[in-house]
């Protein structure tokens, strides 16, 4: 791997030629691997990257049915935060946030992680009590956060409508200063480049069509590019996790829904932070290009079509305009949906399935992007050692049998 540096930049600039090599190879799949990751999004690439760098397992393939980062990694609103209520979830997301803080250096690739802070607005007395409780829980867990009143909000966010007569009166917010946004494509590309440099084969346009088992354990995967043997297979396929798991007769407590987002025409800097509101199902930030990035809630019905109903985005935009009247004449340029895998307790499922050697990492629902490096970190540990990392032990599939759910609907809810 050619390292990026100011010297490399100067050298290539003076050479006037195409001195930059491709970020990763495109090899043909081998007949067998020590581990196969199904899904070339951020989570799958991070898993492969950490399998190689932290556990020395480099005979690894990442199989992606389309192009890497072309699923939810390229469709989210890029928000990163860790202010979750319960200890288990907070620890997992905080680990991920910490990995994000060092990710550009670790990957030698600028993922443009911008810790511009995240506000979660409260619109009622009851919601403010919940927010205060969550901030207190965060601080007990060593996670930064504080309660912000409406007066201070009006100073920090002069374009926010905090009038008491608004349709969604803003009574206050929680604020996590270390939260922010990262460049989603760069996260996928940087992870792919780092994984490839450590020997991982990234195989695009290779769809898994079957999972072979022998005596209760996984033996390999059928793909559109032939059969690939592997004793360890990790399914990291977000919205399509149920489809993949059913190939091995594994049932998951997951329902897939479209989650819609939009970006506006680019504008001068107007919003220097991230503002989210669970109650009105809307969240907004401004990208480095100047576009407003707006996320809506999920559509209620199961769907795989990567499009949702207009009423859902209409509701989100109505709320955005109510809270930010200055945006009322902004035009939206693009609009899309990703397919999110929601679980009954709004927490992920990470660990081995009843089929030995077959692992799942799914159920991140509406908030997987923030967890990208942390998710890969714990799944790599789980696949390498056969035992869950302490951070993902609470998120095993069998929690739905034991009843030990981690109910994060309050902090996760819809607005991730």
């Amino acid at each position: 791997m050619k390292r990026y540096s100011v010297f490399a930049l100067a050298r290539n600039a003076l050479r006037f030629g195409p001195g930059w090599p491709a970020l990763w190879r495109s090899p043909d799949p081998k007949a067998s691997y020590d581990a196969v990751i199904v899904g070339g999004g951020g989570h799958g690439l991070a898993t492969a990257c950490y399998l190689a760098s932290e556990h020395g397992i480099t005979n690894v393939a990442v199989l992606e049915k389309g192009w890497i980062g072309g699923g939810n990694t390229g469709r989210n609103t890029t928000i990163v935060r860790s202010n979750y209520l319960w200890d288990d979830a907070a620890a997992l997301y905080e680990k991920s946030l910490q990995l994000f803080e060092g990710l550009s250096q670790a990957l030698n690739f600028n993922v443009m992680f911008s810790q511009r802070g995240v506000f979660n607005l409260g619109h009622s007395v009851h919601e403010m009590r919940d927010i205060a409780r969550r901030v207190n829980a965060n601080r007990l867990n060593g996670i930064d956060g504080r309660l912000v009143g409406a007066d201070e909000l009006a100073r920090l966010l002069p374009i926010l409508n905090v009038s008491a007569r608004g349709r969604y009166p803003v009574l206050g917010a929680s604020f996590q200063p270390r939260g922010g946004v990262a460049r989603h494509d760069a996260v996928a590309w940087g992870l792919a480049r780092a994984a490839d440099a450590r020997g991982v084969d990234i195989i695009q346009n290779c769809e898994v069509t079957g999972i072979r088992r022998e005596r209760g354990r996984v033996a390999g995967v059928e793909t559109t590019r032939g059969y690939i043997r592997a004793r360890k297979v990790g399914l990291v396929a977000a919205g399509h996790s149920s489809v993949l798991a059913s190939m091995a007769d594994v049932r998951l407590p997951i329902e897939s829904h479209p989650l819609q987002a939009l970006v506006s025409e680019p504008m001068k800097p107007v919003l220097d932070t991230v503002v989210m509101s669970n109650a009105v199902h809307a969240y907004i930030s401004q990208s480095d290009k100047g576009e407003l990035v707006v996320g809506a809630g999920i559509d209620s019905w199961n769907g795989y079509g990567q499009r949702g109903s207009f009423g859902t985005v209409e509701g989100a935009l109505a709320a955005i305009v109510e809270m930010f009247p200055i945006f009322s004449r902004v035009r939206m340029l693009r609009h899309w949906a990703g397919i999110v895998d929601t679980t009954p307790d709004a927490c992920p499922i990470i660990g081995e399935t009843p089929v030995r050697g077959l692992f799942v990492n799914c159920g991140w629902g509406t908030g997987g992007f923030k967890a990208t490096p942390g998710s890969g970190w714990v799944l790599a540990h789980t696949m390498a050692t056969g035992e869950p990392h302490p951070l993902n032990a609470p998120f095993a599939l069998n929690r739905f049998v034991t009843g030990r759910l981690v109910d994060e609907h309050g902090a996760a809810g819809v607005a991730h």
């Binding site: 399509h240 149920s242 049932r251 407590p253 897939s256 019905w301 207009f310 049998v401 034991t402 009843g403």
Partner: protein, 85 residues
């Protein structure tokens, strides 16, 4: 936006309906005889198919009746609407 044909009220906008998830899940008559795995399967596990899905809808802002639909989860085409037996 889906156009859903309520068996009683005719075609109406999706916003009048609420979604009830997978259809034909029957509460086990004697839950205390089930294993934890069987109970978890009833409570939490879902088919979640890519393609034809049998699901429940309620005309919440209309006649408030529940009914079933067969819908393609990729195209959102509603193939069939049928009453709850």
């Amino acid at each position: 936006m889906l156009l859903i044909e309520c068996p009683w009220c005719g075609p109406r906008d999706e916003s009048e309906f609420s979604y009830g998830g997978e259809a034909h899940i029957v509460r086990p008559p004697e839950p205390d005889r089930l294993t934890d795995e069987e109970w978890a399967d009833y409570l939490f596990m879902r088919k979640n198919p890519r393609g034809r899905h049998l699901e429940q809808w309620c005309h919440a802002h209309g006649c408030r009746q529940w009914f079933n639909a067969e819908r393609d989860t990729v195209t959102s085409e509603i193939v069939r609407i049928y009453r709850v037996e």
